[in-house]
Point group: C2
Chain length 349, copies 2
């Protein structure tokens, strides 16, 4: 079947085509795509605050279309934005999606991208309310802005961690990074093999899914809410545990101790690190793209937090003067460094 | 003086550097740059609605750095977003700015970009509250989301035009397009001349400014508000008068008659069109990037609208069955066509 060129639809035709299957569901979404701006209503509760976050994904920097299915890419692009809203202890409500596309991208390919965005929106009860579509001289550009809400007295900033607070993380760390390593290796093998041998990913499904189709932790926010727990500080882990923890410590003006042995790591992550002969703790500390939640709670909530599924205590907050350190398995203290994934460290021309 | 490479600052250093001189001014802006999301407060008035719009500018598609000063580019990128909020009869309050930059862009160059954004924000009383910064494999990418407010019973959609309403535009049309033609011609001359002869833009300042540094019409919205006038339909003119008018007619399910002789055109625009041997009305109808306001008001408001500085009545709304037409100077009727500037019509690979 021949693919459809986007030029056959035109800009407005394309926007209409891509967004027509996004019926508005939230009462806060008054008017979506189709005018100069979307119209939202947050007046139902005077104690509601509005959260806004934005993230851009650029081809060649954040994703490689050689091994990234468009549907997964759409899902992930939406999810990384939802994750930022959850990290404020809020709930995502609306997104706007802006894409820059080159001629080689077909309408069918964009349909798959929007299928992924739609799935993410359905699962997290978010409305697509606007966006912009343009051509791009080069690669695919996806810029998403997410709007959410939170109760004004339950918003969690990075700056609220206090001495003796417990440091907690959801899920496990390093898997997305190991998934990326595996995909990069298989891409190299694929390109070097004349016959284009298909890679065997059996037994590696988890780390691949963590890289290609991460899930923002709405469930953790809901469980914390049900337990009546409001963290003192919170962030989502996009650049790596070390980097995010240093942000919290810097903005809260505190120090920390994190125990290497407490960092949650999945079996597939550990197995892959061994295959690649990489240091497992380094992967978990600096890997990035986990989209798990990192937060602190008062020491008094130790029992309550321990009872919540999917949360692990990995350390505690100290006075600023004690610095930020990782306590290794043999009891040594190593100063934490932000070696996280930083797309500006080695900008490509 | 040597220019500073962005890699010396790192992602977080760069964001901090670029955004530190944007103090929050609006009471609706609770928390700006520096956390996972910005926090906004729209709870002061239950009749307030929140508007959200987003626009992306890509190098090679929307701007050419050969003749676009970075400060002007920043100003324009902010302004095109403000314009969308005004076109809903709202007031812009916050923006988030996301940039993708290649290695060849210096910190000083980004400073100039943000100087332009800052100037636009100061003039229109808008707070910069967030964003994202990343490297780009190729050109400069600027994606801005603007949040605004409007009284719920005064929001103006594209769909409200009624038969016999007057069609009005602010300012004059076609100037930004002629400015672009002039810049493109001078670029060609410059590139063909070995000595790099500097172009002479004397007497062309107005059309150049219209292209490089457009001004969103906050003043028109304020004057309409002072006169107690709520348009029945409104859009800003970014793709050209024809294209926008067809949007209003389609969404309002009406027709229109626009008088060629009534379309406001500046002297410099007319003079430049003559130099280029281009049809002046075509330039004014299809030129695009004017960022003027196109709106409709009930016939009964004719006198009131005429008294407002900077607004001109150019035609009227008809029944849908009468079609959409331009009435030429000799009384002929030509069907309006959307030949506006469409960045998807000829996507570049």
């Amino acid at each position: 079947m021949a693919l459809t060129e986007i030029s056959t639809l035109g800009e407005f035709g394309l926007i209409k085509h891509l967004t027509e299957e996004f019926p508005l569901k939230n009462p806060e979404s008054v008017k979506g795509v189709g005018d100069d701006a979307a119209v939202l209503d947050f007046s139902h509760d005077p104690d509601t605050r509005v959260l806004v976050t934005t993230d851009v994904l650029l081809e060649g920097i954040h994703f490689d279309l050689v091994y990234t299915p468009m549907k997964h890419l759409g899902y992930k692009a939406a999810m990384v934005n939802f994750s930022d809203i959850y990290a404020m202890n809020g709930m995502p409500k609306q997104i706007t999606v802006t894409i820059g596309v080159s001629k080689r991208i077909s309408v069918e390919s964009l349909d798959a991208l929007y299928d992924g965005i739609r799935l993410a929106c359905e699962r997290h009860q978010v409305d697509l309310v606007g966006g912009d579509t343009t051509s791009s001289v080069t690669g695919l550009t996806i810029s998403i802005t997410c709007i959410g809400t939170a109760a004004k007295d339950k918003i969690v900033y990075r700056s609220g961690a206090k001495v003796n607070d417990l440091i907690c993380v959801s899920g496990d760390l390093g898997a997305a990074y190991m998934g990326l390593q595996l995909l990069e290796r298989e891409k190299t093998v694929f390109l070097q093999t004349k016959d284009g041998v298909q890679p065997d990913f059996a037994g590696k499904e988890y780390i691949l899914e963590r890289q290609l189709k991460p899930e923002a932790r709405r469930d953790i926010i809901e469980r914390l809410g049900q337990a009546g727990i409001v963290p003192t500080a919170m962030m989502d882990i996009s650049d790596g545990l070390s980097s995010e923890l240093l942000h919290i410590c810097e903005q809260s003006k505190v120090g920390c101790r994190v125990y290497e042995e407490k960092i949650p790591i999945d079996f597939q992550t550990a197995s892959m690190a061994e295959t690649f002969n990489m240091n497992l703790s380094t992967c978990a500390l600096n890997g990035g793209e986990d989209y798990e939640l990192l937060f602190t709670v008062p020491l008094a909530l130790h029992e309550q937090v321990n009872q919540i599924k999917g949360i692990k205590v990995i350390g505690y907050i100290t006075d600023e003067s004690e610095g930020t350190a990782l306590v290794t398995r043999d009891g040594a203290e190593l100063t934490l460094k932000a070696q996280g994934w930083n797309p500006l460290k080695n900008p490509v021309e």
